[in-house]
């Protein structure tokens, strides 16, 4: 790349990242990218491309039986092979994740307000009235102002409201990097549009970096200008989304763009 070297180290620096199973099968190979503070990057690919593994590897959340190799520097701290005690201060404060399915990401037995209060209390050391005010503000920020929501359990609210709550939880610790892993895939289109708008506004307002993961080119193009295309655990292409869509370099990207274009064309021209 011809960009000048940044003056400070990037917020997230991934180089030659690999993820392997215990049996030695590579699920992700030789992935490298940097993300500066406030920068946005989209990760695009289909099932099994390694998108979600990337978000887990970056935050040191890989499941048992999976191991990472290479290097992931998150706010200057090496994540690969790091002991849990070194990772804990990074999670929330440096990076937070919003997952695809809010129904499984939220604790089913805890009221929404309490789930949001927990990270606020931990990261901002608030208690009592100050904590209650902060929870109300956090809910306000994701347009869940109705006081009923804070008292509800996850099953009592809609999918869109659950995802808003999950976003409020992810943002409660004031992270510098937000990782959104297919945050709207489980939602209806009108709700998806609202959530994307909400995320875009919050990331902008707080100057957060964003790693946005999706299989949907159209959704990614609404959120970022810069994309990395992944296929079978390998990054096959990187560039501005406009260029990737108009002049895909890799056959896989061309196929992906072709499919997305075909579905888009079926809706007619605007």
């Amino acid at each position: 790349m011809s960009l000048p070297a940044p003056l400070t180290a990037p917020l997230l620096s991934v180089s030659s990242l690999g993820v392997q199973t215990a049996a030695g099968r590579a699920l992700l190979s030789d992935l490298s990218f940097d993300l500066a503070a406030g920068q946005r990057l989209g990760l695009i690919g289909e099932s099994g491309s390694g998108k979600s593994l990337t978000s887990l590897a970056v935050t040191g959340l890989l499941g048992a039986g999976l191991s990472a190799s290479g290097s992931v520097l998150l706010d200057g701290v090496q994540v690969v092979d790091a002991p849990e005690r070194r990772l804990i201060p990074l999670r929330g404060r440096v990076a937070s994740i919003v997952f695809q399915e809010p129904l499984t990401a939220l604790d089913p037995l805890m009221r929404i307000g309490k789930q949001i209060a927990e990270p606020i209390a931990r990261h901002r050391a608030l208690r009592g009235t100050a904590l209650r005010t902060a929870v109300a503000e956090a809910l306000d920020e994701v347009s869940l102002s109705d006081a009923r929501i804070a008292r509800s359990y996850p099953y009592e609210i809609s999918g869109g409201q659950r995802q808003r709550a999950a976003i409020a939880i992810a943002l409660a610790s004031r992270p510098q990097l937000l990782i959104a892993d297919e945050p709207t895939t489980a939602l209806d289109v009108t709700v998806q549009a609202q959530i994307l708008q909400l995320l875009d506004g919050l990331v902008e307002a707080r100057g957060m970096a964003l790693l946005f993961i999706s299989h949907d080119l159209a959704v990614v193009s609404a959120m970022t200008q810069d994309v990395l295309v992944m296929s079978k655990g390998v990054a096959v292409e990187r560039g501005p989304i406009q260029q990737v869509i108009t002049h895909p370099q890799h056959p896989y990207t061309a196929q992906l763009v072709g499919s997305a274009r075909a579905l888009d064309d079926m809706l007619g021209t605007r």
Binding site: E46, S47, S158, G159, D188, V189, T190, V191, Q192, A193, L196, H215, D216, L217, A218, V219, S221, A222, I241, Q242, I245, T246, Q255, L256, S259, A260, R261, A262, L263, D264, M266, L267, G268, R270
Partner: protein, 249 residues
Amino acid sequence: MILELRNVSYRYRKGALALTDVSLSVDDGQSVGLVGESGSGKSTMVKLMLALAKPTSGEVLFEGQPITPSTLRRFRASVQTVFQDPYSSLDPRQNIESIVAEPLRSLGLARGDEAREMVAASLTSVGLPADALDRYPHEFSGGQRQRIAIARATVCHPRLLLADEPVSALDVTTRIQVIDLLAELRESAGLAILMVSHDLSAIAALCDTTVVLNAGRIVESGPTAEILISPREDYTRRLVESVPRLPAL
């Protein structure tokens, strides 16, 4: 007319009406798209159309007549279904031959060599290799599993296929292949299709007419192109405008 809902309302136990005064019909060779968001009543409507539930009021008519125990078998052979999630709709412990032969077995339509031939023909028509017969669902990808589900639904040569979100769980590339397959079956076998989906592009690709459902009521229906390009209702317009689009070339 193969299947008709006439002024149908449906209420779950003590709840509010899930469907209110819904009328809809599907004739031979027609393709109808049923669009709506979560909670709009789409799945309830499919349940009624499959005679898996009885309407609280109104009628479900098969070939112009209410479905009775004596017409149920012919109804089942004529109206088949494909579900959303090909990972939960195929029995993991049955091989593909047994899975696809299920309607032939349960409806007593064919057995032995005849059944095996029909199963093989059905697998061929959905583009799966003949050696798929002896294999198990876990050996196939999501798109292939959905093909297996379509083979099972069409093995008894039904007149109408009710497809409930058949491509929602699939990647874009696979999604297009399965839509193409359904379009092909419609052309070659004259199969009528009623597809339930929240994916407007899938509806646009396959369905001549579209019915929009919101909060248990049909808010708009007509030719798909008209509904997508010039929706009359605010709800439909909002739905169309919410679909994320690629940047223009």
